[in-house]
Amino acid sequence: MEPPLTPAAFRALYEAEFAYVERTLRRLGVAPADLEDLAHELFVVVYQQYARYDRMLRLRAWLFGIAFRLASNYRQRAQRREVAMPTPEVPDPAHLPEATLEASQTRARVLAVLDTLDLEQRAVLVLHDLEERPAPEVAATLQIPLNTVYSRLRAARQRVAATLRRWRATRGEL
């Protein structure tokens, strides 16, 4: 078993990986207002569980796995409480300015597309198509069979493509 993190090492990990954690939580559907709480809880888990971290996984794969479990609990809590989750905010292209194509707004559109997926499909799409991790690593990160990665990825892509088609239809594009 690995030794626990020293405060200095924990600080270094925090500085190096905070941006990744923040973005991963957003990509997994955590609302901006809840990011602080969930990021805090995630790093608590990191500090507590570091000695048990399987070094066969990349650090970011391990962090993603934690973020995924927290996001899953977060969604269950929201459903149980009937608290409004970040709704699938598919922007109405008819009311968007031309500047929509700019990067920041396009990023917002990506998150909006991701909001149309369930968490399991979403996690696979984020790992494979955004982080560009190979399917076996996605399977190891999420602790699911490889074939499940393929099926979820296929379903997620179909849904994303359908959403884009709907957007284009709204704008009157071919």
């Binding site: 405060p7 923040e22 602080e36 608590v44 927290l70 409480r81 955004l130």
Partner: protein, 250 residues
């Protein structure tokens, strides 16, 4: 199996996702806020100070501090040892108590020892109706005192005895923080000992009844943490279906 099983992304999807691939920088305020909460976990001086100063500088400062501590510690221990000997001689001569020297703890303890146990998460259940504190105080928001959490579990308006009540946070679900659980007493009452100020799910479950759960934010001073009551409901749902993909039983 390999990546050949995966088709290339459609061009429009690829065009959209490509923008999101580069990792944007962290939100500085958010990073600082979360770190300020985490500092309590590391103990005094943990992590090389507050803010978001570069780690390399913190590491250098830490090495320097350790060298200084060793030098000072050696001197103090030598002085204390001689003083102990002198005190012993004086005490022996006077017939009084042995002299004690209080040494600064930082000089006799390892430079860092974990402020929290690095033990596997586990669930604890106290059937007396009172749980032992499990969540370390640093888990809560800083400068907010521990608060008790108590209430009553009811069924049809009547107290429900022997019902399991669980106290969980999101980190409990991630297997990092112990889940606390107690059972209600004869009056349906439960109580968790003072608990770190944080956001918790409190839930009660009893076979044959629909469970009840409440989200309780102990950081909110307006929350009455002594009256977190839970009402179990009747089970009115059933589950049925047809198995479509199986061999018939002959």
């Amino acid at each position: 199996m390999n990546e050949d099983f995966i088709e290339p992304l459609p061009s429009d999807v690829e065009h959209l996702l490509a923008v999101e691939r580069p990792l944007p920088p962290a939100t500085p305020e958010l990073q600082a806020h979360v770190w300020s909460r985490l500092e309590g976990m590391l103990g005094p001086g943990g992590g090389g100070g507050g803010g978001t100063a570069p780690v390399a500088g913190s590491a250098g400062a830490l090495v320097g501090a350790l060298v200084l501590l060793v030098a000072i510690g050696g001197g103090v221990l030598l002085w204390a040892s001689r003083r102990d000997d002198a005190s012993s001689r004086e005490a022996a001569a006077s017939g009084g108590a042995h002299g004690q020297v209080e040494r600064p703890e930082s000089l006799v303890r390892a430079p860092w020892s974990p402020a929290i146990p690095i033990a596997p998460a586990r669930s604890s259940l106290d059937h007396s109706g009172v749980a032992q504190p499990a969540l370390p105080s640093w888990f809560g928001q800083r400068d907010v005192r521990l608060r008790p959490l108590a209430g009553q579990v009811l069924v049809d308006g009547r107290p429900a005895a022997g019902v399991e009540v669980r106290l969980e946070s999101l980190a409990s679900g991630a297997d990092a923080i112990r889940t606390e659980a107690v059972r209600t007493d004869g009056q349906g009452r439960y109580r968790f000992t003072p608990t770190a100020a944080w956001l918790y799910d409190v839930s009660a479950a009893l076979p044959g009844f629909a469970g009840a759960a409440r989200l309780v934010d102990l950081r909110d001073p307006s929350v009455d943490t002594e009256r977190v009551d839970l009402e179990l409901g009747p089970c009115v749902r059933s589950l049925s279906g047809t198995v479509l993909d199986a061999m018939p039983v002959s």
